[in-house]
């Protein structure tokens, strides 16, 4: 018994000591600027793709270090930005004004585009109903349940905007239910809801295409949207402009490599590897069947202004503001000039 007790105590102390002394001690020389870049969805967010083409990042490890961090959603990203635990966040058009107004972070700046929706000749996220179901037009959704990935997300806002155009209001006329994107097909097929958003790559699922029919797309609802963009804090941009420009230059080089049709096959293979799915499922990536990604990573501020105004109209933020005051495109422009 005594032996057992002593053994237990000794084992615990040893475990504790190794736990506390283990890693964490490795602190690299702080010469290169550490840039942490967030992402939520692999492939759709540039961060997950950049690290797969490190060979094109000439300044990586010299003037900056890149660390990509996965977040389950945008709320913890805002916390991370505020706590100085994240340098560049990829926020969507509703979360940017929420962070600026509700979290009081008026030092946030849009620095680059991630992807847009509804541009001519490119994919726009769809909203689907059962092909042989009772919903023939938007008005038929009165009294029904509709699915969104999260209340207040860009997808949710586009959906609410469309339903409002047709005289339907949340809670009064329909119910919003939350479900993850990958389960949308099942939600629709098993009639748990009557309308589901279909975003890439799930909108290409042949089984979804079999049971579903597109009722409208995001372009019909809100026109062009500056869906997702890179955000950094003013202080960080000013302090590390040189390193950030280097990072942006590398990013642009990689983004253009992916967008170049000559590299399409290799890009598909990279997607297959990180998604752990067969390569032929990724024929759409970085083509006209994908959402628009600007080769200069220039965000569409006019579209963003409309999106922010819409976010206010739907009651998610109190007031709108001039988005130009919250954008600093000088870095991405400088970087693009270097590549000329």
């Amino acid at each position: 018994m005594r032996l057992a007790q002593t053994g237990l105590a000794a084992a615990l102390v040893a475990a504790l000591a190794s736990a506390l002394l283990g890693p964490g001690a490795a602190c690299a020389a702080d010469n290169p600027v550490k840039i942490r870049l967030s992402y939520v969805v692999p492939i759709a967010n540039w961060a997950s793709m950049l690290v797969e083409k490190k060979d094109l990042a000439r300044h990586l490890g010299k003037s900056y270090q890149l660390e990509i961090v996965r977040f389950a959603g945008t709320p913890p990203m805002i916390t991370a930005l505020a706590a100085g635990e994240l340098e560049i966040a990829d926020l969507t058009y509703p979360t940017l004004p929420i962070a600026i107004q509700n979290a009081g972070m008026d030092d946030l700046r849009v620095i680059a585009d991630e992807f847009q929706d509804g541009n001519a000749g490119f994919y726009s996220n769809e909203f689907m109903v059962l092909a042989d179901g009772p919903i023939k037009k938007v008005e038929d959704l009165k009294g029904k349940a509709v699915a969104a990935n999260a209340a207040g997300s860009a997808v949710d806002i586009a959906m609410r905007a469309m339903l409002r155009k047709h005289g339907l209001e949340n809670r009064r006329d329909y119910t919003i239910v939350e479900a993850p994107f990958p389960t949308m097909r099942a939600m629709l097929a098993e009639k748990k809801v009557d309308l589901v958003p279909a975003v890439l790559p799930f909108s290409l699922d042949p089984d979804l295409r079999k049971v579903g029919r597109t009722l409208f797309d995001t372009k019909d609802a809100v026109g062009v949207s500056q869906f997702s963009m890179w955000i950094a804090r003013k202080g960080f941009i000013e302090k590390n402009r040189a390193a950030l420009t280097d990072m942006m230059e590398d990013s642009l080089r990689i983004v253009r490599w992916y967008l170049d049709p000559a590299n399409h096959k290799e890009a598909m293979e990279i997607c297959a590897r990180i998604a752990r799915q067969p390569a032929e499922r990724f024929a759409w990536v970085f083509t006209s069947k994908d959402n628009y990604r600007d080769p200069d990573m220039m965000p569409d501020l006019a579209a963003l202004q409309r999106n922010v105004d819409l976010t206010r109209d739907l009651g998610f933020i109190k007031a709108s503001f001039d988005v130009n005051k919250f954008a600093d495109l000088s870095v991405v422009q400088d970087a693009a000039r270097r590549l000329k």
Partner: protein, 280 residues
């Protein structure tokens, strides 16, 4: 047949019905008798077949519940690419550190709260306030001090695992024989000595069952703490693969976590049983 739940109070584990089975430690029997091993774990096989059938027969949408054979295939790929091992190691480090802290601090706290009324009054309310909180909701607070790295995750696992240990130690120690305590005191034993010789041994059976609960919770907590923000770990893999819609691979990771938890539980049971035999 069973040694699995043997944290006997006072006596070596014996089947409640008095049937004379289950004398060998689980681990030894596990190794020595292969057919017994198969028979013993065949319920898992039945469950696996039920899963496969549910998904093949479309009882559950194969989207939400992929067939187990596809999960197995995804698992092999994850092992081959090295993803599972690399992420697993960082997760296990966090779980181990959080659990060790929880056992050490939680056990000591429980025993002290049982023997000292002031300690109970000071610490009890804090333990009771923090335990029933969903740990992922605390992330915004822990980030203030510990950032998004290992520290905040270890803290969350520690907080989540601590209460079963504390409650076990507290209830066990309170159940210890007062006469034994008094006689130990009258024989001149003081403070820590009394604690170590009298209170801890009598608290041990419940404490050990508390540790077993904490062990299982550690695996659940490590996933939920890594789901929110992470660069690596089992929870990161689960979140990443889930966002992708690669549910086969996601369930491969979920089952891996469950299996490691299962192994840890079995090893723990075997060790505890060994240790308790010294009492006789």
């Amino acid at each position: 047949m069973t040694v699995a739940f043997s944290t006997g109070r006072g006596k070596p584990p014996g089947p409640a019905s008095g049937r004379p089975d289950g004398k060998l430690p689980a681990l030894r029997r596990l190794i020595s008798n292969r057919s017994n091993f198969l028979l013993r774990y065949s319920p898992l096989l039945i469950l696996a077949l039920a899963w496969e059938a549910a998904s093949r027969l479309q009882l559950a949408s194969s989207l939400a519940l992929p067939p187990l054979t596809d999960v197995a295939r995804a698992w092999i790929e994850l092992i081959q690419s090295g993803d599972l091992v690399g992420n697993g190691l960082s997760s296990l480090y966090r779980a181990g550190a959080g659990l060790a802290l929880a056992i050490l601090v939680g056990g000591a706290l429980g025993v002290f709260m049982a023997v000292s009324r002031p300690a109970n009054a000071m610490l009890g309310p804090l333990v009771e306030l923090f335990y029933p909180m969903p740990k992922s909701a605390l992330i915004p607070v822990t980030v203030l001090w510990l950032g998004f790295g290992d520290g905040s995750k270890i803290l969350l696992i520690f907080l989540g695992c601590m209460l079963p240990v504390t409650i076990g130690a507290y209830n066990g120690a309170r159940g210890s024989d007062q006469h034994l305590l008094w006689s130990a005191r009258s024989m001149g034993a003081r403070g820590l000595r009394v604690m170590w010789d009298v209170v801890v041994p009598s608290a041990l059976p419940e404490l050990l069952n508390g540790v077993r609960t904490a062990l299982a919770l550690a695996f659940i907590l490590l996933v939920s703490s890594e789901l929110v923000v992470a660069r690596q770990g089992f929870g990161y893999l689960i979140g990443y693969l889930g966002a992708n819609g690669s549910y086969e691979a996601m369930f491969a990771v979920v089952l891996t976590v469950a299996f490691i938890g299962f192994l840890a539980d079995r090893v723990y049971q075997a060790v505890v049983e060994r240790a308790l035999r010294w009492r006789e």
